[in-house]
């Protein structure tokens, strides 16, 4: 009887755990971390969350634009009724090399934020289930990984995990309306001109293209001072088809400041 009672308690603890399991395949682990629901008058209730990826030492995963080769991390969701998932979001990456291929990605730990919106009443029970697919590579090889991770909407969010989820949202690239991006191209080279950045320290900031097949990933793109503003010149991606008509970039300042998102349309 005592055994059965303890077993039940153990199972309850297991079920209430905010991340039911993580799996170790593909040289990385994946977990689903939830923060407490955010209820605001006049707005739909939301549940901030993140897929937490931890890559083995020496291995890296990929950004939304993976660069040469590689593959972005993707999630498919199974959600309780009344919940909808927003897009998986990606913090600013770092440049990594997979052998001779230049790519954009992450080493160590990264949290990929996602926002769930409650369309009716907040469900009292039910698992949010995520099937996470990723690619991890090191200098010599690549491995694909897949894990199904769950979190119960009724579980009490672990305070440290909730704080990490909040920090992950707060670190996502943010738009700055004062920044203007101009893009020109000639003879296979693209010039990026950023103006309106006087209130920010963006000298030497590194640029990462969210838009795929636009800019060559093989060289770092760094903002330099010019007479007309901050600019960078970069080779056009050899697989770009026709003139560039749209470009989304992430700018990562040299100093530890929040990354910025800028857009350009022809």
């Amino acid at each position: 009887m005592l055994y059965c009672g303890m077993r039940t308690i153990f199972l309850l603890i297991l079920l209430m755990s905010s991340s039911l399991w993580s799996q170790e395949t593909g040289h990385a682990t994946a977990e689903l971390w939830l923060a407490p629901p955010r209820v605001e008058e006049g707005k739909p209730t939301v549940i901030p969350a993140a897929i937490r990826m931890v890559y083995e030492k020496g291995w890296h995963g990929y950004w939304v634009n993976p660069g040469e080769g590689g593959m972005k991390t993707e999630v498919t969701w199974k959600l309780p009724a009344g919940l909808s998932a927003g897009a998986l979001q990606f913090p600013a990456p770092k440049r990594e090399m997979t052998g001779e291929l230049a790519c954009y990605g992450y080493v160590g730990e990264v949290l990929l934020p996602v926002l769930f919106t409650v369309t009716g009443a907040l469900p009292k029970e039910g698992d949010i289930e995520a099937t996470v697919s990723w690619l991890a590579c090191d200098e010599k090889g690549c491995a694909s990984g897949e894990a199904t991770v769950k979190a119960n909407v009724a579980s009490v969010a672990d305070a440290s995990r909730a704080a990490a989820v909040a920090a992950a949202f707060a670190a996502l690239p943010v738009a700055d309306e004062k920044l203007k991006l101009q893009v020109t191209e000639a003879d296979g080279w693209v010039t990026l001109l950023v103006t309106g950045a006087e209130h920010r320290d963006l000298l030497g900031a590194e640029i990462f293209p969210v838009t795929e097949q636009a800019l060559d990933p093989r060289e770092s793109i760094l903002l330099q001072k010019t007479a007309t503003g901050l600019a960078a010149r970069v080779k056009k991606n050899e697989y770009a088809t026709g003139p560039l008509t749209q470009l989304s970039l992430v700018i990562v300042p040299k100093a530890p400041q929040r990354a910025l998102a800028v857009e350009w349309k022809k």
Binding site: P66, E68, G69, G70, M71, E74, T98, G99, E100, L101, S133, L135, C137, K140, G141, C142, A143, S144, E212, Q213, N237, Y239
Partner: protein, 195 residues
């Protein structure tokens, strides 16, 4: 060991780069069975070059699903010469000697016409082969008419194959019908070649 050295030493290529619409870089090499393969000698045939590394998840996607083998079977059945090349170096750990290359390919049910262990990376570098897989199609006149990915979905998930556009099949159908290849250059996806 001796066979591998002979294979590596016998590979030779022409100097010009691989560019769609231009003559494909000429090469000659001994295949894994010891037969001489020369691009010049294949004039009059449509040729496919496929870069491979069976340890790569993107290659596993296309061999595990039999997608690659079906393509090989379909188009060699139409007279296409299909050459599968591994340009992985010994230092990278991706190299396979001729015996192992033949064995793995047989185990996978490969229908390629030739296998070439390009240990020195000579052919791979001449074509700027970047990934495994990376696909090239050369027409009967020896002109490169396709350079790029096998298909349109940059994933390791075999379930995506059915809904992908297969660029190689499309290019081969067009070139065999005497038509111009409409999608002639795409970004290849996969693991690095491991030169």
């Amino acid at each position: 060991m001796f066979a591998a050295m002979v294979s590596a030493i016998s590979i030779s290529v022409s100097a010009h780069a691989a560019e769609v619409g231009k003559p494909a870089p000429a090469f000659s090499a001994k295949d894994a069975k010891g037969a001489e393969v020369s691009l010049e000698g294949l004039k009059g045939k449509v040729v496919v070059l496929e870069w491979v590394n069976h340890g790569c998840p993107f290659v596993v996607k296309h061999y595990g699903s039999k997608n690659m083998q079906k393509l090989q079977e379909t188009y060699t059945g139409k007279g296409v010469v299909w050459i599968t090349i591994n340009s992985g170096s010994k230092a990278s750990g991706s190299y396979t000697d001729n015996e192992k290359f033949l064995q793995i390919s047989a185990d996978k049910g490969s229908k390629a016409s030739h296998l070439i262990a390009d240990e020195s990376g000579t052919i791979g570098k001449a074509y700027s082969a970047k990934t495994t897989p990376h696909m090239f199609v050369i027409n009967k006149e020896g002109v490169l008419v396709y350079n790029g990915a096998i298909d349109s979905k940059k994933t390791t998930n075999a379930a995506d194959i059915e809904s992908s556009e297969n660029y190689v099949a499309k290019a081969l159908d067009e070139v065999l019908a005497g038509k111009e290849v409409t999608t002639s250059k795409t970004e290849p996806y996969g693991c690095g070649v491991k030169y």
